[in-house]
């Protein structure tokens, strides 16, 4: 399968960047779906989304139509929040969408607001995405001027939609939907206990729907072409084309739009050209940094929620990280554990303490000071990479603790011999040994500039 043979919907002009301008977008039929949606009933629209099988593209994969049907319409005002926090390591698909299709996203938001009978939407975008936030703000300005946003949109009396871009400040946890809401309310991004779910009591205590950027950008296409069209691309209960962020040691990393029938093996070896320098594939993280790791013999599976689950991992945010044989799994786990202990919000003891302990222990093993008892301790904290096992998973308000524990459990399960080797040898056996920051400063044995690939 070559890239040129693949159909593209979301990323047709990804290099051209022309949809930023309203006139270009309108020339392609832009905002016609929103105009059409004004003539549809909410029930009709929600039914089409339900029938399409669209599932949230942020990571959890919850059916969007079903989420929408939970919104408590007896209470008002209601809100729609677009989760543009995209902070799961490995995931980098929403940024190109926002930078290159801002008006398509706005049209998706307008359609969704009409379906949900919502008048104000907030795009919560991570602070690092300066450019995307600027482009969105400009597109919003254009849409207001054209009468597509604000009071009486498209000249229809009484129909109102407002969109506000709200920038975060650099906190992974704000991608968690309730933390996103507390952050938007002007507080530390602390997740809240559920229930009540946001669909009942969300932003400012009012009914709120939170959807990922890629989820919402699919809405105009689904409303235009119908649910059956979306189901052309199907594997079990995963429908539609989706964006896969590929990073790490492949020859052609990038963001690819693919059907869920493509296998992880095809993605890595055909579409991304295989492993750099013709190295050996060591392992793959198939769905963002939180999901269990897969070994080379486990990757011949379709990239659907069901396909990846059957291999023992999760599709998550469909962010595929590829490691070649030069990467030490213990070092890589220390890197990820550092991320989670840094990003834990600190509210719940099992997560705050557990993530910090996991990092310390993994780092100790990587540094060659670990013992076999450390391995057991790690295993007892992290569990076996399944929900509810270990001392963290299922014991905190949000899933950050789970997300931190799953890779630990799975790394030990997949590479136990290498962890034990570190303990036995008293050092990391990998060449180009890299140390973590010591006292906030990076220390490297081979501390000289050199050309890297």
């Amino acid at each position: 399968m070559s890239i040129t043979e693949l159909e593209r919907v979301l990323l047709p002009n990804i290099e051209k960047n022309e949809t930023e301008w309203l006139s270009a977008y309108k020339a392609q039929g832009g905002y016609e779906v929103a105009r059409k949606a004004l003539g549809m009933t909410c029930e009709e629209m929600i039914q089409i989304v339900k029938d399409s099988g669209l599932r949230g593209r942020g990571g959890a994969g919850f059916p969007t139509g079903m989420k929408w049907s939970f919104l408590n319409k007896k209470d008002s005002p209601r809100y729609l929040c677009i989760n543009a926090d995209e902070s799961e390591p490995g995931t980098c698909k929403d940024r190109p969408l926002m930078e290159q299709r801002p008006h398509t996203l706005l049209e998706g938001i307008i359609c969704s607001c009409l379906a949900l009978e919502v008048q104000s939407a907030y795009i919560y975008i991570r602070g690092e995405y300066y450019k995307a936030a600027k482009i969105l703000n400009k597109a919003i300005e254009e849409a207001y001027e054209a009468g597509f946003l604000g009071e009486n949109i498209f000249g229809v009396q009484g129909k109102k939609v407002d969109i506000v871009v709200h920038r975060g400040g650099g906190a992974y946890v704000c991608g968690e939907e309730t933390a996103l809401l507390t952050s938007l309310e002007g507080y530390r991004g602390y997740p809240k206990l559920k229930p009540p779910f946001p669909a009942v009591a969300g932003l400012y205590g009012k009914p709120t729907i939170i959807n990922n950027v890629e989820t919402i950008i699919n809405i105009p296409f689904i409303l235009k072409n119908g649910a059956e069209w979306f189901k052309k691309w199907v594997h079990e209960k995963t429908t539609g084309l989706r964006l896969y962020s590929v990073s790490g040691h492949v020859k052609r990393p990038g963001v690819y739009e693919l059907p869920p029938t493509v296998t992880l093996k095809q993605l890595i070896f055909d579409i991304c050209g295989g492993i750099r320098n013709d190295h050996e594939l060591k392992w793959v993280i198939p769905g963002g940094s939180s999901v269990p790791w897969l070994l080379p013999h486990q990757i011949d599976v379709p990239l659907s929620h069901e396909g990846v689950a059957a291999a023992g991992s999760m599709l998550g945010s469909s962010a595929v990280m590829v490691m070649d044989h030069t990467v030490c799994p213990v070092w890589a786990l220390a890197n990820l554990s550092h991320f989670y202990q840094h990003e834990s919000c600190g509210q719940c003891t099992p997560c705050r303490e557990g993530t910090a302990w996991m990092f310390k222990i993994v780092q100790r093993i990587e540094d060659g000071h670990g013992t076999m008892a450390d391995l057991d301790a790690l295993y007892s904290i992290a569990g076996e990479g399944k929900p509810g096992s270990g001392m963290i998973s299922g014991k905190s308000i949000c899933a950050l603790g789970d997300a931190a524990a799953w890779p630990v459990g799975s790394a030990i399960a997949q590479f136990r011999n290498e962890f034990e080797e570190h303990v036995r040898l008293g050092y990391c056996p990998y060449k180009n040994k890299r140390y973590w920051m010591a006292n906030g400063r990076f220390v490297n044995e081979q501390f000289h500039p050199h050309k890297h690939h």
Binding site: G90, G186, R188, G248, V255, M321, E343, M437, H448, P449
Partner: protein, 156 residues
């Protein structure tokens, strides 16, 4: 008394119109401060507190939670170099070493001439362009020694 934000009253009023609660303007106000001064000082936090009618401690609580708000002055160009897995396996540490060796830009420090500061940060959402960094607001990916040299030369 407003000092840093004294000329921004119009922008601040427009900000309040966007949210049903004034408190929601917290992060946008902090961004406004950081855009103007490069960091969020204690004085700035006191001003934001005054505008929002909350205590300075409540503002500090927020500032200290979000890693992008700088609590001390940075260099003219602040480099946020991504150090999470996808970037780290593609050369983050080689880049940090290169910046220190060739340009004297050290992690967590401001260069003596005040031109640069460098920070290792967690994932910046540019994984398929690894290794990547943010130089102030601009994203630079697929970094090589050559592209770093160009970047450094282009900074004021």
């Amino acid at each position: 008394m407003l000092n840093i934000l004294k000329d921004e009253t119009e922008r601040i009023e427009r900000l309040f119109e966007k949210y049903p609660s004034r408190r929601s303007a917290m992060l946008p106000l902090l961004w406004m401060v950081q855009e103007k001064t490069g960091w969020v000082s204690q004085e700035a936090m006191e001003e934001v507190a005054e505008i929002l009618a909350v205590t300075p401690a409540e503002v500090y609580e927020v500032v200290s939670f979000y890693t992008m708000f700088q609590q001390r002055p940075t260099g003219k160009t602040h480099i946020a170099l991504c150090d999470t897995l996808a970037c780290a396996i593609c050369g983050t540490h080689e880049i940090a070493a290169y910046l220190e060796e060739k340009y004297g830009i050290e992690v967590k420090k401001v260069t003596k001439d005040g031109r640069f500061s460098l920070e290792l940060v967690e994932c910046i959402g540019a994984c398929s362009m690894a290794p990547a960094l943010l130089a102030n607001e601009d994203l630079h990916g697929n970094l090589t020694p050559e592209s770093l040299d160009q970047l450094i030369a282009s900074c004021p």
